[in-house]
Symmetry: C5
Subunit: 355 residues, 5 copies
């Protein structure tokens, strides 16, 4: 997610609804697979051509079509033709810089949001845009990458004996949304770890330029995550408010549940934001503190030795008439001064709590 926060559509001047893929290419070829299920039935299949889905169109089973890779614009165009999807929706599916949103059409619903997964080390986040077209007994999912992220949901359908398989495509959509938001919690756990470890190293060791860099990087990631997650609350609220026939009454309570989760995610992000801001303040204060300590050492050393050096300098002068130079006790007395002055100064610094 170190990518740009906002990418130009690269389409200025093109008519709206022009179907070209916009965004980073995460998967060069598009692949199509389906999961078709009902009570007692479960079929998993890879399709060669998008037209094979037509046979599932009017069956009573729920059909989950998974398109992985968005560069093959033809697939999206064909789906638009088969199911009568508006050009602007198809365009949104292909443009992977969407703000999460929910749109309701006469005979289908369109949901788009980001699936956030932890990347490599050092708290990096990978995001993938997920588009869902919810139709009667049909759910078409568009993903940027080819991977097994949603495998657990397939597994749940396969092993489900009751509820899942007896409910419609709206419940499947809910299950996917719930899964995506659950991934956010995993991310937040990693974020928590990163922040805590940063906090510990700040209080234990020296403030370094590297910590500063880590703080800034975490802040940036958090700004990204918030932008991707924050509109999801709204998306879910609109789904709950929706009066579309495609969302059954008894799915509402499930959507309310996942909506609660999305609010919790956003509130957590806000909290972490406050903590990170606090951390930077602490960092600056720590640096100042260190500086104070350094300056104290410098000041103590300098203040003690500079007068002594001066005194030694006096009796290093070569004037002919310096009576002290001849005194027997002059040297030991000077030593006494060399010892008394530092003691007095040390006491003074002690009282000032500089030592």
């Amino acid at each position: 997610m170190s990518e740009s926060l906002c990418t130009s559509s690269g389409k200025s001047g093109l008519p709206p609804g022009s179907l070209i893929h916009v965004g980073e290419v995460l998967e060069p070829v598009g692949s199509i697979s389906i999961v078709d299920y009902s009570k007692g039935k479960f079929e998993e299949k890879k399709l060669q051509s998008i037209d094979e889905i037509i046979q599932y169109k009017d069956s009573d089973t729920v059909t989950w079509v998974i398109i992985e890779g968005l560069t093959n614009v033809e697939i999206v165009e064909r789906i638009g033709a088969i199911f009568g999807i508006h050009q602007l929706v198809l365009e949104d599916i292909l443009n992977t810089n969407q703000r999460p949103k929910f749109e309701e059409y006469d005979d289908h619903l369109y949901i788009v949001l980001k699936c956030l997964l932890p990347g490599g080390e050092n708290f990096t986040v990978n995001n993938e845009q997920i588009s869902l077209l919810v139709l009667k007994n049909f759910l078409i999912m568009f993903k940027e990458k080819k991977d097994e992220v949603f495998h657990p949901i397939r597994q749940r359908i396969k092993t489900s004996s009751g509820k899942f398989v007896s409910l419609g495509s709206d419940y499947l959509a809910y299950a996917i949304l719930d899964f995506i938001i659950d991934q956010n919690f995993i991310l937040l756990d990693l974020l928590d770890e990163s922040i805590t470890s940063l906090e510990d190293s700040l209080f234990e060791g020296e403030p370094t330029q590297d910590m500063l860099y880590k703080i800034q990087r975490l802040k940036r990631e958090m700004i990204s995550i918030r932008r991707y997650v924050s509109p999801v609350r709204e998306l879910l609220a609109e789904m709950i408010r929706s009066e579309s026939d495609l969302i059954h009454e008894n799915t509402h309570i499930f959507l309310k549940d996942v909506s609660d989760h999305s609010i919790r995610v956003v509130e957590s992000i806000e909290s972490y934001r406050d903590i990170l801001t606090g951390l930077l303040d602490i960092y600056v204060s720590s640096v100042s503190n260190k500086m104070n300590q350094i300056m104290k050492v410098l000041t103590v050393f300098t203040s003690i030795f500079i007068p002594l050096t001066f005194i030694a300098g006096i009796y290093g002068m070569n004037f002919e008439y310096m009576p002290e130079l001849k005194w027997k006790w002059a040297y030991p007395l000077t030593w006494a001064v060399f010892i008394i002055i530092p003691l007095v100064l040390l006491a003074f610094f002690k009282r000032k709590k500089w030592l």
Copy 2:
């Protein structure tokens, strides 16, 4: 509450409504006790099996069931079966990372919030999730820990002659909510003490790295508390707005009262937040102030002795032709310079108010 602000549900991919306990285990075994009361009746009992509560189900007395420890999932499942509670509610009861909320169902209400109690020293806060199922003449409370926190309410029921025992389960729910929010005031008093003591030590002594650590810790605790308490206002507002038969007309005024308290708690937290933020600013300023003082000492010492040392150095040179070295008054005159220069500089620094 130094725990993570947000814990992954650990359930990704599991079907919603899967009943497993999520969160820290605060009490390994579940214990069940009941308080059954009406005007003139008071019974307190420990139950061996959850099925014993069936006998209280249709009586006219108010029955307060207290489940302590949430690892015994069977108890929750059984209650769900006996009273017809939705799977998602049962799931929420078992997942101790809930955001406080109020949910209204046909024949029961579900309330979940956090009971915050002061932990050990240094202003730490322990939180426990409390779930309440309010049914007609029945209140089922789920707690994470086995302790005597709610003992005072039991005592009030026992000794009540009038109102408490003649009112229903909604009044009992109110009494519990009021009690939980009262605990927040106790917490805020401790917070006030911690902040004031920090403030005092900041203005009296030296700014230390330890203070910084305390400020950050208090800030973190405050962020946690706010997250737990802030949604309670909303929860109570929804209860007051609710038109459920389970909340009687004359309970509204009590809920309004506790709602006032919850607003006061949140406003106090906001105020303390502002004060803590101010404290960090003061801290940074103090550190800078100290640095200034240190630098003044360094500058005064250096500025005074460095020219003197130089002068002594001059007459420590071994040139053959240095007429001054032979002058009779050269040495006393040099001493005069050694005395005059510091006096002039001290006057200069005095005027600059560095001394």
Copy 3:
């Protein structure tokens, strides 16, 4: 107002409506006095027992009962009994940590807010909770302290020929609210003075630790004041919206007027808050500026004398073969160097604007 921002009710576990005084005791014994007036009538009296007010209950005159000191719980209880006041209202009257609010009951109104008065020197603020029960032709005022704060209103009633005495208890309530808010303006004038004097001393003199302390103290006071004053806007808005018969149509315009004032107070506080925040920023910048000046002095002194001392040190070495030592012009030439080097450096520092 250096007291805690939030005090625990000290009542956890007590039944709601338990009448005990909560808060600092500002007046140990309760005193009761009344002002009874109508067109052409004015009576002022101290009562020995609260029951004496019963005789005024059904008269056509307006009766203003003033209870000073809240420790005598019996008085409040008795008033509750005589006028049928809800237990929770009585409890709120006795608990002096209320958030300002307005509550409407069938035959009475309850208003509670803080009267803020300037304390001693250094901008300290004393607050007193004022509760008003507005009934038909009856206004009962509860104060924490026994003093003459509201004397001017008594005076106005006494000398009023027309409007005041011909209007009801709602107008009296308005007059009291208007008076309380007018006190805030006096307070804000004092605050303005404190801030301006702080600002002046910051721009004229040295930034001291004491200023920092004053800024923090003012900030704290402001946070308190805002918390006490901010909900008053809401209180007045609710009174204006209220459709209670107890507030006559022609009192609305007066309430609107005082509402305007309360908005002005809050906006002023917000402005002062911004100014104080700015002041702290200025403070930090000033400290940094001073540091720069100190460092310049140090750097100039050190940079000038350190090379000179080194040169003197060279010719203080005791090598046998140092030809310069024997040169006739060596010593004057060295002096020339001693004069040229500082001049060059001074020019350099001048150009850098360090002098």
Copy 4:
């Protein structure tokens, strides 16, 4: 506008509606003048007594009465009597600390706001409270000062052939409001200049204490301006919403236009506020930058000469057995060291980019 942000009414305890002037006295005697116009008629006159306006009361011409100076309370009182204005409105006219607002009465409208004009140099702002009473064919304007600020409007009426003179008092009120808000734009241009010049001098020269003072002063002025201007948006929105017969349908579009302008003013102020805040941050950073440069100079000087001085010190020691002192090449070798050490250190500092 370096005056207090909030002035106590100085009227605590006085009955509301007591007519005394509150605020700074900007004009000691009140002067009355009128402009009476209709299509084809234009009359300008100074009145000796306020009662002379009665003759214009029922004419069909629009009469603009201008009262300059508010210390003559009688004038205001008399107007109240002639036109039946509420005592509280009269009080507001006399109290020059009003928050801008719009009030609607049965047969008149009351508008109060601040006219902000640039003061002397250094971006100071003078404010004057303008009250407008809009009646049928009558507009009474109350100003604090006697000046020619509104002369351009008189001129426009005089020279108008069509629209202005054929429209009523509501259009005149609009023209005045539009004129007042136009003054704000002039003010904002000056503010822009001040900020830009400050910004330039910050980036070009040294950060000085004087800049800090200017930033704080501009901030304060901005806080004042915002407080005076921000409620004007609301004022105009209420006028537009108003259903009073005194505001004709075709005046709405003009009010909408001036409302747009007031929004633009407030948004500009917010932007300048952000810029000023940024400027202070830049200031602090610049000071730190300068400090770094100073410290680098100090460190480079000290680090180079201090080891050299030490070496010179070694061979200035007077031990009898120091073989080096007798070596022939000792002195030139020492010089070699004196040259090599600084070169090495300079290279080191160069690499660290301190030079």
Copy 5:
């Protein structure tokens, strides 16, 4: 966009609706061109006189009139006369300091907003005010500059076979709005680059005064952009809500799409704002960090050599009775001390992690 954020209208005292051009003159002479199209027809023409457009007024084709340069007030006046546009709208067209807005009239719509284009290097932004008058089958566009910005749209019309040419002037207005907002994305990409490059140079090299300057400049540009873009969301929301016949039902979905884009633009700006603010904090911290390093070098050098110089100074004293001077091993022993002291100090500094 380094111009003033807010320019006085330069029209104070002029009657509203006075048609004079206000703002910077970007194009001295006005030029008029038209694009007239319908299904199967496409005509592009430069007009000599504005009156030539009358012939297109009642045709069924869509006519897009493009006026470039606003100094020729007559053109605007004439259009007002031909199409019956309100004087205030004409005034807004000529005043190039408008806040983006949408206004609905009986037979035309008025849209005004800013087209932001990247200027030269260093992320500067040029803005041009675009006014659109949408009438039935007619769209009049007013631009400040003469350029080819909207050429791509003309191209799309020319090559369109279906939708564009069969839809009305509302779709053309949409296409223009969509195009303008697409330009913002290009701008944001450049902004992203600028910030990222600034961030990189901050973490890699030294914090310089020049970076500070760049941060402030980017901040200022961002404040400008936000002010120009933020009201566009509102503008589009009002267009969507509008019930004017001039916006057809099937254009709504397109407006909704561009509205989504405008929200994304504003959210991106907010994110960049947060990142820039963070960058300044990082800058300040980096400067402090550098200072710490400088101070460490200074302290280490000073602390090591100052005691040594003192010791050398002692044995440079010329007292007669200094027994050590005669000892054989005195000099080597002193050297031992000269070696041991630095080693001890270096170990000490190593442990403090200053090296």
